[in-house]
């Protein structure tokens, strides 16, 4: 027995040295690579301006909205005449359907923590739509559902306003919120490893003067960098512009979600 034990000890010792060596070497390798990356990072200018024309590149900036057919007059709170305005690259756009609630984006902020909508809920009637975000600006239809959306090369975001009428009545304001959030969102903050992320939900209020407040996570995506980049985008914003004068409320509550897919 003593002999056997001695053997076990011996086995263990055998591991330690090469393990240490391996870790040490990998550590050095990491340092070297990170150091190289740092050193080789281009510091200098990049040319911007006339040579590039409209320099704000479309691939980063959102598309204000997606082509939608003209909605018919609807009194229904659901306003499902409108297709769900959001789209993800592989999934075709859902069409008007009676179970419109299931279209991405919400009428009311969900109180439950578990995912309200399964990610694979492609509605059964796909409609031909441009696959990527190359929707020319302004050609999108009105966001006359309660929700707006934007998309960039790898992420889609959507809004829904707590007051469902708000979006149909003041779709221009919803699009405005779109544009402002997209302009303040730094994609590079998201970990480049991320290819697919669970949807992250945030809520915030916009007061009469247009100032956002009360930014909170309703549901995180489990990818810290994505969550953080979404939160930071909202925190950067000073104002969205005053709420429409015809709107009677003191504020609107907005639920804002992000899908990240590469």
């Amino acid at each position: 027995m003593a002999y056997v034990r001695a053997n076990l000890f011996y086995e263990r010792e055998q591991w330690r040295k090469p393990l240490l060596l391996s870790v040490g070497f990998h550590g050095l390798l990491v340092l070297a690579i990170v150091g190289l990356g740092y050193v080789m990072q281009p510091r200098a200018t990049s040319n911007w301006g006339m040579k590039e024309g409209e320099a704000v590149s479309a691939e980063l900036v959102n598309s204000a909205s997606i082509p939608l057919p003209h909605p018919e007059e609807t009194k229904s709170i659901v306003a499902t005449e409108n297709k769900g305005v959001t789209q993800t690259l592989p999934q075709p756009k859902p069409v008007e359907t009676e179970d419109g609630i299931s279209i991405k984006g919400k009428v009311t902020p969900p109180k439950h923590i578990d995912k309200p909508v399964p990610p694979a809920h492609v509605t059964p009637h796909p409609l031909p739509t441009p696959v990527d975000t190359a929707v020319p600006y302004g050609e999108g239809g009105p966001v006359s559902g309660p929700y707006g959306s934007f998309s960039t090369a790898s992420a889609k975001g959507g809004f829904s306003f707590q007051n469902a009428d708000f979006g149909s009545r003041f779709s221009w304001y919803v699009q405005n919120v779109n544009r402002v959030v997209s302009a303040h969102w730094y994609q590079v903050e998201v970990d480049p490893r991320v290819t697919n992320a669970k949807r992250v939900y945030l809520t915030f209020d916009i007061d009469r003067s247009g100032k956002p407040s009360n930014i909170q996570f309703e549901q995180r995506s489990d990818i810290p960098s994505l969550d953080l980049s979404a939160m930071r985008a909202l925190q950067r914003i000073d104002t969205f512009g005053p709420l429409p004068p015809d709107y009677r409320g003191d504020k609107v509550s907005v639920e804002f979600w992000f899908d990240f897919h590469k």
Binding site: W48, V56, L60, S171
Partner: protein, 445 residues
């Protein structure tokens, strides 16, 4: 930003680093210059109401000004008039949205209305319609009434354009009524002049009689600080726009120039030799009292406050040889150097506090004929992009209040003139043509 500690992540990070820096540049430029996706906007000519003889000339001024203001705003993609339907609406009754919201026009928004003169007054009604929301199209409906003059037609157009820009531009007010102050020698010697943001209405303000430089308008627009040469020294002087003349301002010993206002109107920073015979940065109350020294650079000039916080000052110092840009806290501490080569002068802080515009000659030397260009630096990351390219000498950038435009001086036309440009380098426009014009300063609102 994020700490990466895992090995395989480190490798990925390295590979993606280079393209990421370009993406980063576009991100901060987007935010720093308040850019969002452009909105397709259609603006048919307003129609006349009534048959007054003054209708046509005023209408013409109005339509031109409205179009120009919206085109220059930096947030619209103007749909060319050649696409418009033959019938353009003058009231909501006449508006047929599907003609405007669908191809070929394909506008997201339409601005339309009418103008009429009656009894010496010009009456304008204007609407902004969401072309994609036929159920609730109206975004804005406005009515204006002023005495019937071309200047008022222009003024109403500016106001209507600003209203549209405010609504659709994320709550940032339009600049159509802002003004630019500048130095011009066309009266015989250098004096301070002012003009509309689009170059209209140029008029002389100061009658100092000797060289006047470095105009800086106060945040509330009521007073203009400048440096004027007197018999024996340079002094900071204060011109009252309400009174139309200079008002008392404390004299300091030595030479005092390049004043700058904090955005709350409480403080003035300037360069003075009063202490050591060499130029150093001082700060004083807006009344000129309580001047205190902030820097000790021996060649410090051109201070400018961070307008967002007023907690920092950027300035130019020749303490290491050629002039470079520095930033310090407003109490003089925490000095940081921002540029490290060439000849860098004239810092201008963007209204949201994120960017510095400045004039830079990257390779500067005795035989090299000067070519200075305007550059933008993201203060947080120190990344720089070049704004002007076409050569000549470009200097004295100044930001518009909406953070989307920059006005600067350039000799690219042969003589020193004032030019404006969008912060992405497009819409380059010459604003002055007579005499020599320099050192432009955009109002705070």
């Amino acid at each position: 930003m994020l700490r990466r500690t895992k090995t395989h992540v480190a490798i990925l990070c390295f590979l993606l680093w280079l393209p990421l820096t370009r993406v980063m540049a576009q991100d901060w430029i987007k935010t720093g210059t308040n850019r969002g996706a452009p909105i397709r906007l259609a603006v048919p000519d307003f129609k006349p109401t009534g048959t007054d003889a003054q209708n046509d000339p005023l209408l013409s001024v109005f339509n031109q000004t409205l179009w120009s203001d919206l085109d220059n705003a930096g947030i619209f993609e103007m749909v060319a008039k050649s696409f418009y339907p033959l019938q353009s609406p003058s009231t909501p009754n006449e508006m047929k949205l599907d003609a405007w919201g669908n191809p070929p026009v394909n506008a997201a928004m339409v601005a339309f209305g009418n103008l009429g003169v009656a009894a010496g007054k010009v009456d304008v009604q204007g609407w902004l319609y969401d072309a994609k929301n036929p159920s609730f199209p109206q975004v804005l409906g406005k009515q204006y009434k002023e005495d019937a003059t071309p200047d008022n037609a222009r003024l109403i157009a500016h106001r209507f354009a600003d209203e549209i820009i405010f609504r659709l531009g994320g709550g940032i007010p339009g600049i159509a009524e802002s003004r630019i102050y500048f130095v011009s020698n066309r009266s015989g010697n250098k004096e301070i002049w002012s003009m509309d943001y689009d170059g209209a209405n140029q008029k002389q303000l100061t009658k100092h009689g000797d060289i006047a430089l470095s105009p800086r308008i106060s945040p509330d627009g009521s007073r203009l600080a400048f440096s004027g040469l007197t018999k024996d020294s340079w002094q900071i002087m204060m011109f009252s726009l309400d009174l139309g003349r200079t008002v008392a301002f404390p004299r300091n010993s030595g030479d005092n120039f390049s004043p700058a206002w904090s955005s709350d109107g409480a403080k003035i920073a300037f360069s003075s030799t009063m202490h050591s015979g060499l130029s150093e940065i001082f700060i004083a109350d807006a009344s000129g009292a309580g001047a205190r020294r902030l820097s000790t650079g021996k060649g410090d000039v051109s201070p400018v406050f961070n307008p967002k916080t007023n907690g920092q000052i950027a300035w130019v110092s020749g303490r290491t040889g050629l002039p470079q840009i520095y930033v310090m806290d407003a109490d003089g501490s925490n000095v940081q150097r921002m540029t490290d080569q060439g000849y860098a002068v004239s810092p201008a802080w963007s209204p949201n506090g994120l960017l510095l515009a400045f004039a830079w000659v990257r390779n500067y030397g005795p035989g090299i004929l000067g070519g200075a260009d305007i550059y933008l630096m993201d203060i947080a990351s120190r990344q720089i992009v070049q704004l002007t390219h076409d050569g000549g000498r470009n200097d004295f950038p100044s930001w518009s209040p909406d953070g989307r435009h920059i006005v600067f001086q350039s000799n690219r036309s042969g003589t020193e003139q004032v030019w404006s440009v969008l912060a992405d380098g497009t819409h380059l426009t010459q604003l002055t043509r007579q005499g020599r014009n320099s050192q432009p300063n955009w109002s705070f609102k």
